[in-house]
């Protein structure tokens, strides 16, 4: 393994997250009860997605400045794993909501839930990014067009998942300020697990991305060296 200290950190943090996440005590909350432990898993997926997409746009801008194919490979792989995290976050959210919201809210309220719609739009914008990439055969053109598009896709994340859900009435907790980062709402015991969990899951995403990047670099060795 290459540069392995952060990979070891990732393994330790994830094992700590699972053990601490299941066994440590949590504050008593109505509606949520023990499902509040999902904070260490569901919310971390969205944090990971946001960080990976940020890395993706940084490399997209880097590509537009340098025109190096390497930067395009970095950018697209961060976007791919970020989308995977987004899908996992969405799926876990569906499970969580179906055991907590359905008891107190009507199905109309749930289907018109701005956070769900916003997250769906944000993910679909990134799906379109991969469709766009797949439709262009010329390598340089593909890299350039998708780098420009990914900037728009990233900017689209902000109204879709950060701004609009906060302006509208929502069932999703954490509408005032930052969800889960609000110090008044989040118990100290939960922060003990939550922050390491964010780092652990994000590092896992970065690890998977790094493997995909290295594989792509190997595949395109002839073009990159030529």
């Amino acid at each position: 393994m290459r540069k392995s200290w952060w990979k070891i950190l990732c393994i330790i943090l994830l094992i700590y997250t699972v053990v601490g996440g299941f066994l440590f005590s949590v504050p008593v909350r109505e509606i949520l009860h023990e499902t509040i432990r999902n904070l260490y898993f569901h919310v971390c997926m969205w944090f990971g997605m946001m960080i990976l997409f940020t890395a993706s746009i940084v490399y997209a801008i880097k590509y537009l400045r340098s025109q190096q194919l390497k930067d395009d490979i970095y950018s697209v792989n961060f976007a791919k794993v970020g989308t995977l995290f987004g899908i996992l976050g969405y799926t876990t959210g569906i499970v969580w909501a179906s055991y907590t919201w359905t008891e107190y809210a009507s199905s109309t309220q749930i289907f018109s839930e701005p956070k769900l719609l916003g997250a769906a739009i944000a993910l679909l914008v990134y799906f379109a990014y991969f469709v766009l990439r797949g439709s262009i055969t010329d390598i340089d053109k593909k890299a350039r067009v998708s780098a420009v598009y990914s900037i728009f896709a990233y900017i689209m994340l902000f109204p879709a998942i950060w701004i609009l859900p906060r302006l509208l009435e929502s069932l999703h907790p954490g509408n005032e300020g930052n969800p889960a980062l609000n110090f008044r709402n989040l118990d100290g015991r939960m922060r003990m697990v939550f922050y390491p969990a964010i780092i652990g899951w994000t590092l896992l995403g970065v690890w998977i991305t790094s493997l995909k990047i290295r594989l792509d670099l190997l595949k395109n060795k002839n073009i990159l060296n030529g």
């Binding site: 393994m1 290459r2 990979k7 393994i11 994830l14 094992i15 699972v18 053990v19 299941f22 066994l23 440590f24 005590s25 949590v26 504050p27 008593v28 023990e34 690890w207 998977i208 493997l211 290295r214 594989l215 190997l218």
Partner: protein, 73 residues
């Protein structure tokens, strides 16, 4: 003499656990998840999730090693 002191010491020690254990039990009741841990077999779930997580991580490590070998080749 030493034997008698030792036996006295151990007989004193025998009284300690009763009070100590009562304190520990009271402390543990303060935690909300205590009941779940004592009778809900949550440890089984933790073990299962840990096995899956460690299995996936080992797979990732192996994949990492394979790519490293491919890079050196």
């Amino acid at each position: 003499m030493a034997k008698r002191i030792a036996s006295l010491f151990f007989s004193l020690l025998a009284f300690l656990p009763a009070t100590l254990l009562a304190q520990v039990a009271d402390n543990q009741k303060k935690y909300t998840a205590f009941e779940m841990r004592s009778n809900g077999k949550i440890y089984v779930v933790v073990a299962v999730v840990l096995i899956i997580l460690i299995g996936l991580l080992l797979y990732l490590i192996r994949l990492d090693g394979k790519i490293t070998r491919l890079e050196k080749h």
